[in-house]
Amino acid sequence: MKFSRRDTLALGAGAVALTVLPLQANAATAVDDLIATFTGGADVGEGGVTLTAPEIAENGNTVPVGIDAPGATEVLIVAAGNPNPNVATFKFGELAGSQSASTRIRLAGTQDVMAIAKMGDGSFKKASQTVKVTIGGCGG
């Protein structure tokens, strides 16, 4: 049997889809669980939160991310594609100058990073951004 260039490409794409799909399904439930625990099952709206992250991160070991959520009391950062999607929870106290902070996080690969903010009135807002990672940061 002779493979044309087109066949080979199709085969390759199929194989990639097969291996990636179940992984993503697993990760998605873990992320949903994590968010549900944080929000207590409440609806999460869009807007009101700004997540600053690079579009392309060369080194997944240190990816600078910033959050800005005026009026928030707590902000959860989630990296959907990490072995442990929970990254950090920021709680702002009474002397916080603004509801913003920045830090550096590890990303295992190209994925969506999410920030979910708990607002002062008890509602939840989220923002997300896709970060392309050239070298993953979770070790071999």
């Binding site: 072995p83 702002f92 106290g93 009474e94 002397l95 916080a96 603004s98 920045s102 830090t103």
Partner: protein, 109 residues
């Protein structure tokens, strides 16, 4: 891993009453995620700083719960209101029970 841990904090020495100041903190720590393996294939156990807090005269500014996805040498930048002269207290809590502290005093003027 309680060796070579050195907290560094950048805070202004003076501020106007009620002014919002930016604080930057960095602490040297390996933040072993518990995902890596050594060359024999054994998992290196997790050893991270799991909590960071900042207080000013006993009032909370920020309280961060940290997970293994935080990078080596955890860095935080955030803002705080300085209502009066006093002292910022920064505290890091290690998985092994160690507590690292740093304090910076701020004058009004």
């Amino acid at each position: 891993m309680a060796q070579g841990v050195k907290p560094r904090v950048k805070a202004p020495k003076t501020a106007a009453a009620g002014e919002t100041v930016t604080l930057k903190t960095l602490i040297s720590h390996k933040m072993e995620s518990g995902q890596r393996k050594d060359k024999d294939g054994n998992v290196i156990p997790r050893s991270i700083i799991n909590r960071f807090t900042c207080e000013f005269n006993g009032k909370s500014v920020i309280d961060v719960k940290m997970e293994p996805s935080i990078s080596t040498n955890p860095y935080f930048e955030f803002e705080a209101v300085v209502p009066e002269a006093g002292e910022f207290k920064f505290t890091w809590y290690d998985d092994d029970g160690s507590v690292y502290e740093e304090a910076k005093s701020v004058k009004i003027g």
